[in-house]
């Protein structure tokens, strides 16, 4: 079958998709977007977390056909997504719950492709930078899913308590870090966000 959907702000169509394929498989093997990871493919580890119409989901549990006409944001589009959100809502806080992106703005939004030579995007999102700075990346396999989940947390809660962070990231397994540096990274991103306001 053919599936049309928007990925990181770009309209995409995937052809010859077998009905049983997951969104994760389509992203990784058909779209050349391997950033969403395949650690369990059974919805237990969160390494494949993407945003589907803004909502964080395990893309391994979403059938490819379910995303017809919908919008997906992966870790590859996170920096742009965050930048756009910042432009639309300076200060980044979401106290009123008026977060997210208007349809108009989303339609005008264009993703900037990464520089394939260095892998450097124009700039990293605050949460991506914080993960690097805090030492929250070791093997890095859980990192993309954690980034998508943590970014979504900070979008709806600009100053989360430790319990809030733990709750928001409880669906993302990490085997290397012991999570302490991941907590540090989210705190760091929240603090920098606060300073920027």
């Amino acid at each position: 079958m053919r599936v049309n959907f928007t990925v990181n702000g770009r309209k995409q169509e995937a052809d010859d998709v077998w009905e049983g394929e997951s969104l994760l498989y389509v992203l990784r093997e058909r779209m050349g977007l391997p950033g969403s990871k395949n650690a369990c493919e059974q919805g237990e580890c969160g390494s494949c977390t993407v945003r589907l119409d803004g909502v964080p989901v395990c893309s391994c549990l979403v059938a490819a056909g379910q995303v017809e006409g919908r919008e997906v944001v992966t870790v590859e589009g996170l920096a742009d997504y965050a930048k756009h959100r910042e432009d639309a809502h300076p200060g980044g806080g979401c106290a009123s719950g008026a977060c997210g992106t208007s349809i108009d703005a989303a339609q005008r939004w264009q993703a900037k492709p990464l520089d394939g030579q260095t892998g450097e995007a124009g700039a990293l999102s605050p949460i991506q930078q914080a993960f690097i700075d805090a030492g929250a990346v070791q093997c890095g396999f859980c990192t993309p899913g954690l980034l998508v989940a943590a970014d979504e947390l900070l979008e709806r809660n600009a100053s989360p308590s430790d319990q809030d962070i733990r709750e928001a990231l409880s669906g993302n397994l990490c085997r290397c870090t012991g999570y302490e540096k991941i907590l540090d990274a989210v705190r760091l991103a929240a603090a920098r966000q606060e300073e920027a306001v």
Binding site: W18, G20, Y25, R28, E29, G32, L33, P34, G35, S36, K37, N38, A39, C40, E41, Q42, E44, C45, S47, T74, V75, E76, L78, L114, G119, E120, A121, L124, Q128, Q129, F131, I132, D133, G135, V137, Q138, C139, G140, F141, C142, T143, P144, L147, Q163, I165, R166, E167, S170, G171, N172, L173, C174, R175, C176, T177, G178, Y179, E180, K181, L183
Partner: protein
């Protein structure tokens, strides 16, 4: 960071920014946070096929027949391979004993053993084709424990064994045995005022790295193959792959692709040979990616163990003797079992002084899943048992458990049971003092200003099972000792190629090793070492491959020590060569060129007094200096096979933990509130990475204390929980805050005085949590992991 003790013999604080001792950031960090970093499962090639393994559904059986006809006939299927398709006489592989079939032949010995391979143009086609292969099994009785393995009429897991261990084992179903006898334990026991005996059970833990076994094999024009794979040791894989393919090693070109964690689970071959076989058969690139279910069958696990211990002590708290027997279940194939036996036995006393010991460790062949390397490697199981013993002895003597440990703590100069002296700082008592001195976390953190308890701070969390009723707190301590590096006479070397040249007017260095970066941060440290030694800012880390000499394994806490040592050593030789060029060019301009103590700092040649003699760029001009050198740590010897005596280890590392837990005694739910660590790292080359590593290791120890266990059906030897739904690893909700206290007592034998750090935190974490749960509940708890039924007395037999 606390720094005490003897200063290291290095220039304090490298003058070049980004040198050792600084928390420089990972060079692969940006790629990893943008999703651009290429892990082994991300490989893609034009026209590639997908490989699929068919694994046995039974644990022990004769294979009567295999019918592949339906699978071969499926559209989209390019190849179906069984044992009969193996190209050479070499049909087995193995780390120490070549007893593991590439594909089962005539017999399967454990649940999930590879029997056939399929290559197809879509992973689902490959899965369906594999499901169409018909295998007829005639089941055999399963051997699952020591009694069934060593019974006089026991079926032999491996008939006709002829490996070099066979002469020293009492039964062919025992892989390896290591006794250690020192002093006279029976005589010393007469001096004991109290004797404590215990029998302990350690469950089967899995490494559960997040990046599944995967890789891509691409046939090359010369009949060879290129393999991109996640592994812990490229050259060890190469040695096992090439003979099976019938290719010379230079025709199997291996490149490390991104590794999503390892923890010992990538020391053994998984899909490497299978992918190469399919690629060479089809002439097309073949990618294999295990799903999580298959990953649980795709790698070895941590040995489950039974440990029988006896300790004695005098009234004033001095240990008199220790006797123990450690039985490790190695499963169907040897993997690293012999080395694990050596580790478990030689470290079975723990970080204590006991002169009279009688020790025996064995590993069994059974029809359970194969077990081999996992972080801590035999020392973990022993630590769980001896630390439980320490608490029991202390309780019997009425002495504080920390004080009792400190009374008996090893120090520099103490002899191990093997007779080997610990010839570097051994701050066991100090590490315990530090974790004990740390303030305790506040009580009852679920109490809020309002009426409602914050259930997230309670055992059971948001399942809202208690608001504090029935919840009790407990505190427990543990300390452990782990060896660093490969032991028992193994030639444990590493190789580093370093190049320095001028590019765009700036001197830059390139470091090329075959070291597997598995997340530990070795690549970060290599760049730091090169900056410190060569005084350059720009360091390029060349991808790890087999075009350079072996780096040995990223395991045994050894890689920063051994490959870090190799990089340091090569850099020193490169520096000398650079200075030689400088002397040739500029020697006549300044008398200081003739002195030996010249350094490279900040892109300049300087005297040890800091006087600048020349710019590095001017010295080199268009010359490049490149050297590839091997480097070795101190040699070790094998343990005597009868007495266990011998200087078998390279180095030791020590960590201590304090665990604070809260237990809902009604439901048997445990919440670990805090797990604090103190560890001696010798020298922290990258403090941020050191702390992260210690926290990660601690968390894996927590996992096997309260949740992680591969459950094998004792009747059928089948794995019952091969998924993340049923094999639980700690989430961020299960993991407490982990404060880390780092000591830096230099080991003068090691590069920069460093100690390997990866495994030590995994040792004492588990017994500390167990001690805390015992402290909270008053239960004896002689097995790990502890599950709710063990705490509520509702365990069904």
């Amino acid at each position: 960071m606390a720094t005490t003790g003897t200063p290291t013999n290095i220039t304090q604080g490298s003058k070049t920014k980004g040198g050792i001792g600084e928390s420089t950031l990972r060079p692969d960090g940006t790629l990893k946070v943008t999703g651009e970093f290429a892990y082994s499962s991300d490989m893609w090639h034009e026209d590639m096929l997908w490989g699929q393994t068919l694994r046995s559904t039974v644990a022990h059986a004769e294979i009567k027949s295999i019918d592949i006809s339906e699978a071969v006939a499926m559209p989209g299927v390019y190849a179906v391979l069984t044992y009969d398709d193996l190209p050479t006489e070499v049909k087995n592989y193995g780390l120490e004993i070549q007893d593991t079939p590439v594909l089962a032949h005539g017999k399967v010995r454990h649940h999930g053993e590879p029997v056939a391979l399929v290559a197809a143009d879509h992973p689902e086609t490959a899965r369906r084709a594999a499901a169409k292969i018909k295998i007829e099994y005639a089941e055999l009785p399963v051997i699952t424990d020591e009694a069934s393995a060593t019974a006089p009429d026991a079926v032999l897991v491996h008939e006709g064994r002829d490996d070099h261990h066979i002469g020293h084992v009492p039964h062919p179903n025992i892989v390896h045995r290591q006794p250690i006898v020192r002093g006279d334990a029976d005589e010393a026991a007469k001096r004991a005022d109290v004797i404590v005996k215990g029998e302990y059970t350690f469950g089967m833990q899995d490494q559960a790295f997040l990046g599944p076994e995967s890789g891509l094999a691409v046939p090359s024009e010369d009949g060879g193959v290129e393999l991109y794979v996640a592994t812990q040791w490229l050259h060890s894989d190469l040695k096992q792959i090439a003979p099976v393919l019938g290719l010379p090693e230079e025709k199997v070109r291996m490149t490390l692709s991104g590794v999503g964690g390892a923890f010992g689970g990538r020391e053994d071959i998984s899909m490497q040979i299978h992918a190469c076989l399919l690629a060479l058969r089809t002439g097309k690139p073949v990618k294999i990616v295990y799903n999580r279910f298959e990953s649980f069958f795709g790698h070895v696990h941590r040995h489950p163990a039974k440990l029988y211990y006896e300790h004695g002590a005098t009234k004033d708290g001095k240990l008199t003797h220790m006797k123990c027997k450690i039985v490790l279940d190695g499963g169907a194939y040897a993997s690293a079992s012999p080395a694990v036996v050596g580790n478990a036995s030689s470290l079975s006393v723990g970080p204590y002084v006991i002169d009279d010991v009688d020790i025996e460790a064995i590993a069994l062949y059974t029809n359970n899943p194969p077990c081999g390397a996992m972080r801590g490697f035999g020392a973990v199981q022993a630590c769980f048992a001896y630390e439980a013993q320490m608490d029991k002895l202390a309780a019997k003597l009425g002495i504080d458990p920390v004080e009792f440990r400190q009374l008996n703590a090893m120090e520099q100069g103490t002899l191990l049971p093997t007779g080997q002296p610990v010839d570097s700082p051994a701050p066991v008592a100090e590490l315990l003092r530090r974790v004990k001195a740390r303030p305790l976390p506040p009580e009852q953190q679920w109490v809020t200003a309002g009426e409602q308890a914050d259930v997230r701070a309670l055992p059971g969390g948001l399942s809202n099972t208690t608001h504090g009723e029935g919840v009790v707190r407990g505190i427990g301590y543990a300390v452990g000792i782990k060896n660093v590096g490969f032991s028992e006479g193994f030639d444990d070397y590493s190789t580093a190629k370093v190049r320095v040249e001028v590019i765009n007017g700036e001197a830059v260095a390139t470091v090329h090793t075959a070291m597997a970066e598995v997340g530990q941060g070795g690549i970060t440290v290599h760049a730091q070492i090169a900056r410190t030694e060569l005084g350059v800012t720009q360091v390029t880390i060349h991808p790890a491959d087999t075009q350079v000499g072996s780096a040995g394994s990223t395991s045994a806490s050894r890689q920063t020590y051994v490959t870090g040592g190799a990089v340091k050593n090569t850099c020193e030789h490169v520096r000398e060569a650079v200075l030689e060029i400088g002397r040739r060019k500029f020697g006549s301009y300044h008398p200081a060129w003739a002195t030996a103590e010249l350094l490279l700092e900040g892109g300049k040649v300087v005297t040890d007094g800091g006087e600048v003699l020349a710019d590095l760029a001017d010295v080199l001009e268009d010359e490049a200096v490149e050297l590839e050198l091997e480097w070795r740590h101190r040699p070790t010897v094998a343990f005597d096979l009868r007495t266990g005596q011998g200087n078998g280890h390279v180095q030791y590392s020590f960590a201590a933990h304090r665990a604070v837990v809260e237990v809902d005694t009604e439901l048997g739910l445990v919440k670990v509130v805090e797990l604090s660590v103190a560890q001696d790292v010798g020298k922290a080359l990258n403090p941020l990475s050191v702390v992260g590593q210690i926290q990660g290791g601690t968390t894996q120890g927590l996992g096997v204390a309260v949740m992680e266990e591969i459950i094998v059906d004792p009747k059928t030897a089948k794995v019952r929980n091969p998924s993340f739904t049923d094999y639980l690893i700690p989430t961020i909700l299960d993991t407490p805050t982990i404060p880390v206290d780092v000591l830096e007592l230099a080991d003068e034998h090691a590069p920069y005085g460093l100690r390997g750090i990866g495994e030590a935190p995994t040792l004492s974490s588990t017994p500390a949590v167990l001690a805390a749960i015992r402290n909270a509940t008053g239960l004896e708890l002689n097995r790990t992991p502890v599950r709710p039924e063990h705490l509520t007395g509702t365990e069904s037999s």
